[in-house]
Amino acid sequence: MEDNQRRVNFQRLSSEDSAISDDSCEYYQTDIYEHLPSTLSRDWNSIQSLKMLPLCMQEKRNIRERLHQQKLKIGHWESWRRSQRIAWRRMVEQLKGFFSRLLPWKHTLHKIEGRFGVGVKAYFVFLRYLLGLNLLNCVIIALSVLLPSLYIKKGGPHCNLTSKDNGSVLDVFLGSGFLERSPVFYSFYKLKNIDKQCLNTSLLFFAGMVLILLLSFLMIVRRTVVGYKHTWMTGNHFSMNMSYKVFCGWDFCIQDPQAAFLKHSFIKNELKMDLEEQRFRLRVSQRTLKQKVVLFFLRLILNISVLALLGGSFALIYYATIKSQNKLDNVHWTLKLLWEYLPPITITVVNFVLPQMFCVIVTFEDYSLTTQLNLTLVRSIFLKLASLGIYLFFLITYLTTSIQNPETEFGKEMYKLTIFHLLACFCNAFLVSFPRAWIVDKYPSSMLAKKIGKPEFVIPLNILDLVYSQTVTWVGVFYCPLLPAISIVKLLVIFYMKMFTVIRCCAPAQRMFRTTSSSVLFNFMLLLGLIMSAVTLGVNINMFVPGTCGPFMGDSSVFNVTSECVQTLPRPVRNGISYITSEAFAFALILAEVIILTSLVSRGGANRKTIERLKDMLVMCSSDKRFLVKQHATLIRRQRRIAPSTE
């Protein structure tokens, strides 16, 4: 009797009765469950639902046999349709498996996930996604920009480039000399007519660039929305849930004993921090008025100091930009290199030093630990994007007023930013992280090792770095068309360097990284970067005085080329285009969008309320079901007891 009671009820999860019921009662409970409409309807569905039944293998095979026998009773048409559906589903599964195998580095990422958890894997998955994006951009550029220019060798206006013929290694870093005359930069491409008035290299150039921005925009919006939908549907309460941490805390993928040990201490720290936060919240609710006023003024002062720091760094960037534009000529090459690279160096130093200071400042503001981390993250994001924005602002202002070939200069600056970013990653991996890890490994008990400790792979800041590099690529692609190709090489190198850093140098993080909610944040940042680059492009096209070289030089600015093309189109198309670009159409479009948005938002709100109500109904219905089954079982038991006694 005891064994039967302890037997796990594989069929269903019944109510309290199973603890006191005997063997026959369970049997009767099973019996009625098999006749319930919900169970029967499940059987009727196709094979797909068979996999999802929570039964042991033998039961599933029995059901499958029954399904097959029922198939014989159905007509040929129905069974043929069913077998087609099964074959189709199997083929789709095989295709999915095939495509997932095509993704590179699957095995490496699997190993990383096992040792370092889901968060670090998310970083590398994001890197791989950016690689794919850049590859797509490269293909578009190759088709629309490179091929037409290289195919038509002759023709086009003459172009005088004022660059020296040094041909040294320095040119690779500065983008001058032979590099300036190569397809890497804007000045290589000329306006050549291919066929009709509309088909020329410049228009293809412009169309290719616009296509890149548009495609990237669509892809990122889709990625953001998919992640956001998921977060929105599941609600935002989970991050504080103790229950979530207890039941979903352990990562079942872990196989390494070291990783398991770290995960245990991880979870312990998380829970301790949560308890700490509870105590903190209790303390907050007990603050007196005087304490609140003092805290308010303290926070005000600290925020002003943060703003002052930001302002100071922006001023630094301004001076660096202006100074570096006055080119030095007759100096040693190292000094020249340093001088030209002054803006990127300033930006990188600012982005390295300031977040550390933010970390220190935020500890005085008396927030809970989670709020502290979020606040630092938000400030770092703002710093990174704003410093790039300020740099672009001052650069464009300077180039508009003073230089002959602003486009090529702008392209060169973006090129320098990219190269320096790669150098900075290299230095960080091999000159900062590796020595730190080496010291801690070799002399673990020394004062130095205890003070600096092993570097930690801070996921949000690293992803921010990737977003920054991608934004620079997008900003520079119009004036340095091969920048996506350079970016691909750079991302590949960064992938292997970061892998080296994570595997050999880093200590695992002490805090769990919420992948889903943070991934929405990072996709949104990528979107912000893309919008910033689109705005910059628009400003550039408007403000730059066309230089002496490039596809849109002199008279043939972007507007002229496009309007010339439009003039040659047939009349109805011209009328259509003029209507689409008029203000009336834009106003109507905005109005329509507002209406659609309002209806979608209200539908979303109504859906959310419905979900809550349905969840409540589900709980009620299942407890009703359990109650009724219990009653039924009790009645049957009573009947059976009476029946033998009457015989």
């Binding site: 009820n9 309290e16 042991c56 889901v118 207890v246 039941f247 004993p257 990783a259 709980v619």
Partner: protein, 187 residues
Amino acid sequence: MGNKQTIFTDEQLDAYQDCTFFTRKEILRLHGRFHELAPHLVPMDYTDDPDVKIPLALIVNMPELKENPFRNRIVESFSEDGLGNLSFNDFVDMFSVLSEMAPRELKAIYAFKIYDFNVDNYLCKEDLEKTLNKLTKEELTPEEVNLVCEKAIEEADLDGDSKLSFADFENMISRAPDFLSTFHIRI
């Protein structure tokens, strides 16, 4: 297909493919893994459905399960006798439910079974305490354990009986988007 394997009949492989989330190749590979756990017990020829069970002690030494604090409970939940002796059917079932393709509802059902230490179909405070101690290797103080368990039950309990039924558990899991990615073992 090229190689003619003699471990299973085609019909058996079809049945496995329909009842689990694995393809034929993966099922053959799983059989290889099952065999190497106990080469003297497990026959290479499964065409006549032999009734062979591997004891718990051998299964929890698999590299995929060795570091898992819940390995004993996992194997017990999928065994027919509740003591952890798995036949090949149970073995395949276990990894099918824990694979990436199993849906959330199915995983929630089995996660509930795994965390239910006293097998009474409820997650009571003792079950939670045992879960927590296994998670943190008993490094939290008893008051901390108590606080955490109380808070967890308070958050998830819907019908107010201070223990979690399956409906409470499933409701809580449905709000946890990382559940699918953490509750899976790759083999």
